[in-house]
């Protein structure tokens, strides 16, 4: 009973982590940017969906669409406000751009977070679930929306896989992550590839944020922990490796769920952090890192 409960809950949580971390790792793989406003974008999308479906009363489907659009919009805003000016700036030495982008995206994330807190208060918000009701599966009563969450995550990841492996545009993105100079030599504009990646990222982060809002609820306090968990999953899996992130998301998701059920919810994040330290010590490039 408990075993099945951990299995089902862990699966849904892990699927969410996986979706959140995939976009994060994609951006790093292609443009070398670690986007520390990640959590804020997820929460922003969720809060937009919550406000549209609940406050304006447009229903869960339109609300979710508005949320996703917000995710994409915030993603582009991040790129044009906090990333691109620094990448192009002649005043900042190349070696220091990394820390500048980290600091700028961090600040941008705080700005989004505070704007949400100001406009919509700090209270936790639960997005209207698209599917209501409870299903009893393997003797465990689970909200139907939890299965929906896991399904949407995997469908989204599948579409990402299709996009990257089967379309011309996706292959160009993949190529850019391997060798940016080579791609420009083939006559593909690198900046348009960055735009594509940030659009994909916004979609993924938006979907993940809304699902999280339905599943666990979000508040402006979730911004920091969300960014930190995406960061740790991505490093655990190996920076830039999408499949590594997926596996790492499941490792972290199940570790957390099992700890929460078997020991105490207070210890929830500790085993995952310990694992991360051990991996960093033994294999700094992550489980599936290329470097």
């Amino acid at each position: 009973m408990l075993f099945w409960q951990i299995l089902i809950d862990g699966f849904a949580v892990s699927a969410l982590y996986a979706l959140g971390a995939t976009g994060f790792t994609l951006i790093f793989g292609v443009s070398g940017v670690l986007n520390l406003s990640h959590g804020a974008i997820m929460v922003g999308a969720a809060v937009a969906a919550w406000a549209a479906s609940g406050e304006l009363g447009v229903g869960p489907y339109v609300g979710a669409l508005i949320g996703i659009a917000t995710g994409v919009l915030l993603s582009f805003a991040t790129y044009f406000i906090a990333v691109r000016p620094i990448q192009l700036s002649p005043k900042i030495a190349e070696a220091e751009k990394e820390i500048f982008i980290l600091t700028a995206t961090l600040l941008w994330g705080i700005i989004i977070q505070e704007a949400i807190a100001y406009l919509f208060t700090n209270n936790a918000k639960t997005v209207l679930p698209i599917i209501e009701g409870v299903v009893t599966f393997l003797g465990v009563r689970t909200p139907a929306n939890e299965f929906f969450t896991a399904a949407v995550c995997w469908v989204a990841i599948f579409f990402l896989w299709l996009l990257v492996n089967k379309t011309r545009r996706g292959k160009a993105v993949m190529a850019a992550s391997m060798n940016p100079k080579g791609v420009t030599l083939l006559g593909i504009e690198l900046s348009s590839i960055y735009l594509t990646v940030w659009a994909i990222y916004g979609l993924l982060a938006g979907i993940a944020g809304i699902l999280l809002g339905m599943f666990l609820g979000v508040s402006s306090y979730s911004v920091g922990p969300l960014t930190a968990s995406a960061f740790s999953i991505v490093v655990l899996g190996g920076l830039g490796s999408v499949s590594g992130s997926l596996i790492a998301a499941y490792v972290v998701g199940y570790l957390e769920t099992a700890t929460a059920y078997l020991i105490s919810p207070a210890y929830r994040t500790i085993p995952a952090l310990l694992l991360l330290v051990i991996v960093m010590y033994l294999r700094p490039q992550g489980l599936f890192g290329r470097r």
Partner: protein
């Protein structure tokens, strides 16, 4: 030509120093209390700048070192007071921070770039979890009440913090312009070349880590005995680390003094904008982002009038 801008900086510094000396005569105890916190934060930011600006290591976990120092001092005092002197607790806190710094640095220096950053971030999260879980010893989420304080007089506390900031600032600045600082800067910019010139890069980075840990821990421990309490929210939380990093970057990295200016600016602005409520943090973040985007050399860079440092 170089003498002119740097002398301007010198005069501005001297003026700021004199103003700070005269302040206790004119302003209320509340403002002094605020500045006391700002001065301790300035030491946190300067220690961080030594590690990042010179050694080139992005330490996301300055609050690990601060927290270890603060909590060690606080717990010792809470457990053994009045049998133990406050100063002994402070020294123990600084020492514990150095030990914590070495423990953190040895595995962390094996990795570089974002991985180093993440290791230090994880250290902060672990410490935070530990403090919350070991609540009987540390006071958990409520915070640890410390029986002793340095002084109950705002002016005395102000002077302690001010002198401490001035002395640590002078030492850190002196270190940064010394040959050691130059070697650190070289290894931060090109590790391989610095190594090829015969400098032991790892040893110097470890030394920078220890110095940074010492001052962070000392400042943390002093701040505990100023506030009379230690809590996760004031010493360890990632938000505190973020504030320190932002202070150092907007003040002007690789300058040490800039970090102090940035810290005092951040805390002062936060207080000035307090009537705006929730908007205060938003506005401060917007200003900080604008500084980073348009004046990457920070406030010190502006004061130098754009002269190439």
């Amino acid at each position: 030509m170089r003498a002119l801008p740097s002398s301007r900086l010198f005069w501005i510094g001297l003026a700021a120093f004199l103003v700070a000396m005269a302040l206790p005569l004119y302003v209320s105890g509340y403002v002094l209390g605020l500045l006391t916190v700002a001065y301790y934060t300035a030491v946190f930011a300067m220690s961080w700048d030594l590690l990042f600006g010179f050694a080139g290591e992005v330490n996301f976990g300055p609050t690990f070192l601060i927290g270890v120092g603060a909590y060690t001092a606080g717990i010792l005092d809470a457990q053994f007071s009045p049998g133990i002197s406050v100063y002994l607790c402070i020294v123990a806190g600084a020492f514990a921070a150095v030990v914590g710094g070495v423990v953190l640095a040895l595995p962390a220096l094996r990795v570089s770039g974002p991985y180093f950053g993440l290791t230090t971030l994880v250290a902060v999260l672990m410490l935070q979890n530990f403090v919350i879980v070991a609540a009987s010893l540390t006071g958990g989420e409520i915070g640890l009440a410390v029986p002793d304080v340095l002084s109950i007089d705002a002016t005395t506390n102000y002077w302690i913090a001010f002198v401490f900031m001035a002395v640590s600032g002078a030492i850190l600045y002196g270190l940064s312009v010394s040959p050691i600082g130059l070697i650190l800067q070289a290894s931060g910019q090109d590790k391989v070349q610095a190594g090829a010139l015969g400098f032991n890069v790892t040893k110097h980075k470890l030394a920078a880590f220890i110095v940074s840990a010492f001052f962070s821990g000392l400042a943390g421990a002093l701040m505990v005995f100023y506030m009379g309490t230690a809590s996760v929210g004031t010493f360890i939380d990632v938000a505190v680390a973020v504030q320190i990093i932002i202070a150092a970057v907007i003040g002007g990295r690789r300058t040490v003094i800039g970090a102090a200016i940035g810290a005092i600016f951040l805390i002062g602005m936060g207080e000035l904008l307090r009537p705006l409520g929730e908007l205060a943090t938003l506005i401060v973040s917007v200003i900080a982002l604008a500084v980073i985007l348009f004046f990457p050399d920070g406030f010190v860079g502006m004061l130098r009038g754009g002269a190439k440092a």
